[in-house]
C-alpha cells in the first residue's frame, strides 16, 4: 500500500505530517472560535430582546 | 519649518532627551561581539561591517519611540496637527532631527568602533558612506513605525516587530556595500540601491506616516 519512499522516507513523512497537522490545527481553532462567537451572539441577542 | 527643527534638536539634546544613548548602545554592542564570537581578528574583521551595520540599526531602533510618543502624551502632537505646516512636513522635520541626533553620530562613531573589530583598512571609508546613505532611511522607516504605534501603551516591542522587517532591504544593501568595500571590491551597485531605498522612503513614507498619525489622533 505504502509507496517505497526509499532513503527519503523520514523527510517526506515529516513534511506531510507537519503540513497536515498545521492545517488541522488552523481549521480546528477557527471552528472552535466560530462556535463560541455564534453562541455568544445568540446569548447577547436574547439578553437584549429579553429586556426590550 | 526651521523653528520646528530647532525645537526638535533642542529637545533631543537637552538632558533626558536621550542624546548619546544611541551612541552608548552602539559602543556596548560592539564590545559584546568579541565576547560572543571569540577574539580572533580574522573572524572579527570579516564580520565587522555587518555587525557595525546591525549595531547602528539597533541603536536607531531604540530611540524611535522617542520621536512621537512624548509629544503625543503631552498633547503637542495635536497642536502640531493643527499648525499651518502640513503633517507630512512636520514628520519629515522630526525624522531629520532624529537622524541628526541619532543616525549621524553613529556614522561618525563607526570608524572608531571599526578599530575595535579589526575592520580591514579599505572598509572604513565605505562603511561610513554606506551608513551615511542608509541611516536616513532607518530614521524615516522608524518614523512610520512610530506613527503606527504612537497610541499604544508600552508599544516599544511592537514597534520593533513592525520596523525590523521593514529595515531588511536597507540592511542588506548597506551591509553588502560595507562588506564589499572592506574586501576591496566595488560597492557601487549596493550603494546605488541603498540610495534608492533612502530616497524612496523619504519621498513616500511621510504620506503613510501622516495618514497613520491622523488615524491615531482621531
Amino acid at each position: 500500500m505504502m509507496p517505497d519512499l526509499g532513503k527519503y522516507a523520514v523527510e517526506v513523512m515529516s513534511a506531510y505530517a507537519v503540513s497536515l497537522m498545521l492545517l488541522a490545527l488552523l481549521v480546528w481553532v477557527s471552528v472552535a472560535r466560530g462556535r463560541r462567537a455564534r453562541s455568544a451572539l445568540l446569548q447577547a441577542e436574547q439578553e437584549v430582546h429579553g429586556d426590550g | 519649518m526651521r523653528a520646528l527643527l530647532i525645537r526638535e534638536l533642542r529637545l533631543a539634546l537637552r538632558a533626558g532627551g536621550g542624546f548619546g544613548l544611541g551612541l552608548a548602545f552602539f559602543l556596548i554592542l560592539t564590545v559584546l561581539v568579541p565576547f560572543s564570537v571569540g577574539p580572533a581578528t580574522t573572524l572579527l574583521g570579516t564580520i565587522a561591517p555587518g555587525v557595525l551595520w546591525i549595531g547602528a540599526l539597533l541603536a536607531c531602533l531604540l530611540s524611535l519611540d522617542r520621536m512621537l510618543a512624548l509629544d503625543f502624551e503631552d498633547g503637542s502632537l495635536d497642536a502640531l496637527a493643527t499648525a499651518p505646516l502640513p503633517m507630512e512636513g512636520t514628520l519629515v522635520v522630526k525624522a531629520l532631527a532624529h537622524w541628526l541626533t541619532t543616525g549621524l553620530p553613529l556614522v561618525v562613531a563607526a570608524p572608531a568602533l571599526g578599530v575595535l573589530l579589526s575592520l580591514p583598512a579599505p572598509g572604513y571609508g565605505w562603511l561610513v558612506i554606506s551608513l551615511l546613505f542608509g541611516t536616513p532611511a532607518l530614521s524615516m522607516i522608524g518614523m512610520f513605525g512610530a506613527a503606527l504605534t504612537v497610541g499604544i501603551k508600552r508599544g516599544g516591542l511592537l514597534l520593533s516587530l513592525l520596523v525590523l522587517p521593514l529595515y531588511i532591504p536597507t540592511l542588506i544593501f548597506g551591509a553588502d556595500a560595507a562588506r564589499r568595500g572592506a574586501a576591496g571590491l566595488d560597492p557601487t551597485t549596493p550603494l546605488l540601491m541603498l540610495a534608492g531605498v533612502s530616497f524612496g522612503t523619504i519621498a513616500l513614507l511621510p504620506f503613510a506616516s501622516a495618514a497613520a498619525l491622523r488615524m491615531n489622533l482621531r
Partner: protein, 244 residues
Amino acid sequence: MSLWEYANPVKFLRLSERVLPVLWAGAGICVVGGLLWGFFATPDDYRQGSTVKIIFLHVPSALMAINAWFMMLVASLIWLVRRHHVSALAARAAAPVGAVMTVIALATGAIWGQPMWGTWWAWDPRLTAFLILFLFYLGYIALWEAIEDPDTAADLTSVLCLVGSVFAVLSRYAVQFWNQGLHQGTSVPVATGERTVSDVFFVPLVICMLGFGLLFLALVLYRTGTEIRLRRTRALLARGARSA
C-alpha cells in the same frame, strides 16, 4: 435605528451560510484527493527521489501564502476607500490563514531542501523571502491585537498592509541580490516550483493547488463570519450596558 447594520454584514453572512458547505466539501475533496494521488500514484524523481512528493504541499501553500497577503491588500484598500467593515474584518480573518500557509511553505521547503543542502535550513533566496513574509504577517496580526478601537485598528493595519506590500516586493529583490552575491548557482530548483513539471505531476499538483485555494476561501469566509458576529456581540452588549 436597527439592531443589525443593514449594509454588507447581513448579506455577507447569508451568502456565506449558503456557500460555505460547498467550499468546505470542495476543499476537502481536492486537498485529500490531490494529496492521495500525488503521494501514492506518482513516480519518484530521478534526482530527488521520493522527496519530489513534497511538491504537492510546498507549491500550493507557497502560492496561498502570497495570495493571502494580496487579498489582504485588496481588502485593506477597500476598507480605506469605501469603509466596508466586512472588508476590514476579512483582511483580519485572512492573516492567520496566510501566516499558517507561510509556515507550511517554509517547513516543507526546508525539509525538501535538506537532502540537497545537507542542513535543515539554508538561506535560499526563495525561502528567505517567505521568512520575511512570515514576519510581516506576524506584525500585521500583532497590530490588530494591540489597538483597542476597532476602526482605528482597521485603519492602521490597512496602512501597514499597504506599506508592507511595497517592502515585501522590495525585500524579494534585495534578498535575491543578497544571496546571489555569495553563492553562485546554488539556487535550488527545489524551492522555485517553476521547474518544468512533467504531466505526471501536473494534474495532482493543480488539484492540490485548487484544494488549498478552496480551503483558504472557506477559512476566510468562515472566519470573517466569526469576526462579524464578535463585533455584533460587542455592539449589543455595549448597547445593553448603556440602557441598563
